[in-house]
Subunit: 185 residues, 2 copies
DNA sequence: CTGCGTCTATCTATGGGTAGGGAGAGGGGG
DNA sequence: CCCCCTCTCCCTACCCATAGATAGACGCAG
């Protein structure tokens, strides 16, 4: 296993742990055990927990935006834009019962080290920005002003994050699909 | 200070800590320091962290439902029902920058001791039940079926929890009010 | 004198983080 | 071709702080 593979494996393992148990719910030792190395080796690749957390969040943000695709290839229907966003949350929930990484970090944001909180914030800023831009290309988006598009973007993201929490808390993944996305208005 | 006052103080202190930092983000020692006793005294009132967490969640649920009021005194307009729910989240956010306790626990639910997870689930079950019942009294609620009312109840709660996460993550409480509640449809 | 509530003192487990050693790959000079 | 040096990467072994939790003593009120 090359060093890049090792870093990758650590990042993925950490991401999964944070998404199921939260930032305060994982440790270097657990990661090391899961990966098959010693905790000192994890420190070799990521000097501090803060650095690891921030790297995980940054990677997650990049993957998330990559999965959404370029704005200029986004759907031209409002509902399809929303579904593209919402579908990301849905997939991770039904496939692995995981929260959105930054939804999890967002809940804990008041207790996070600065660098991790900053990456969490960046995730939402960029996700909102993508959605606003995608909405601006739709027929509805061209009829309304920027604040209206922002409201719908925020509302859609909030619905996804909230739906994840409800479905997991209630122990019923079907709940996720019973949450309706906000409609443009 | 009577023993009941002491228990009360511990419950309130623990609730505030969980709401800002999560279940894994507080300790008996921190509570003891904040309250002005030793951690062994906290254990006297709540034998384990699991018991304390569950008691905090149960108390929160009761207070939450009390604040909503009896279903037969709930508003008769859909929007007013939603606003009564949403307003609870809003108040705690703007007054003290706190999450909904069970929104926080809901994010961490996969890592919670059984009793705490069970109380978290009960919070959502009862909150959804209250909202469904309140919606059933509205004119809209009487035109649609139970699943439709449930969908709106779940969607409204999800919007509130999601809005809390977004507002806190983005460090901008105004975001909370930019999240639109789902409309009956 | 009993018992409740708090204390001191301590246990064991685990947390993040560090120091320093050693194995192995790779490259240069003899 | 071989030796040696160096650098990378992971290891062992540890540090200290903090976690939840317990035992048993103390003081005060009834």
């Amino acid at each position: 296993m090359t060093v890049q593979d090792m870093k990758e494996t650590i990042l993925r393992t950490a991401a999964t742990m944070i998404r199921s148990r939260g930032y305060n719910g994982f440790s270097f030792r657990e990661i090391a055990d899961a990966v098959g190395v010693k905790s000192a080796s994890v420190h070799y690749h990521f000097p501090t927990k803060e650095a690891l957390g921030a790297a995980v969040a940054r990677r997650y943000t990049e993957d998330f935006l990559t999965a959404l695709g370029p704005v200029d290839e986004a759907p031209l229907e409002v509902e399809a834009v929303q579904t593209r966003l919402h579908g990301q949350a849905r997939r991770s929930l039904v496939e692995k019962n995981l929260m959105c990484l930054c939804g999890m970090l967002g809940a804990e944001v008041a207790d996070l080290p600065d660098a991790v909180a900053a990456e969490t914030r960046r995730f939402f800023e960029r996700s909102v920005a993508w959605t606003e831009a995608a909405l601006a290309r739709t027929a509805w988006g061209q009829r309304v002003d920027a604040p209206a598009r922002r409201r719908l973007a925020l509302s859609t993201l909030a619905a996804s994050e909230g739906a994840l929490i409800l479905a997991r808390s209630l122990g019923d993944m079907a709940v996720f699909d019973q949450v309706d996305l906000p409609r443009p208005g």
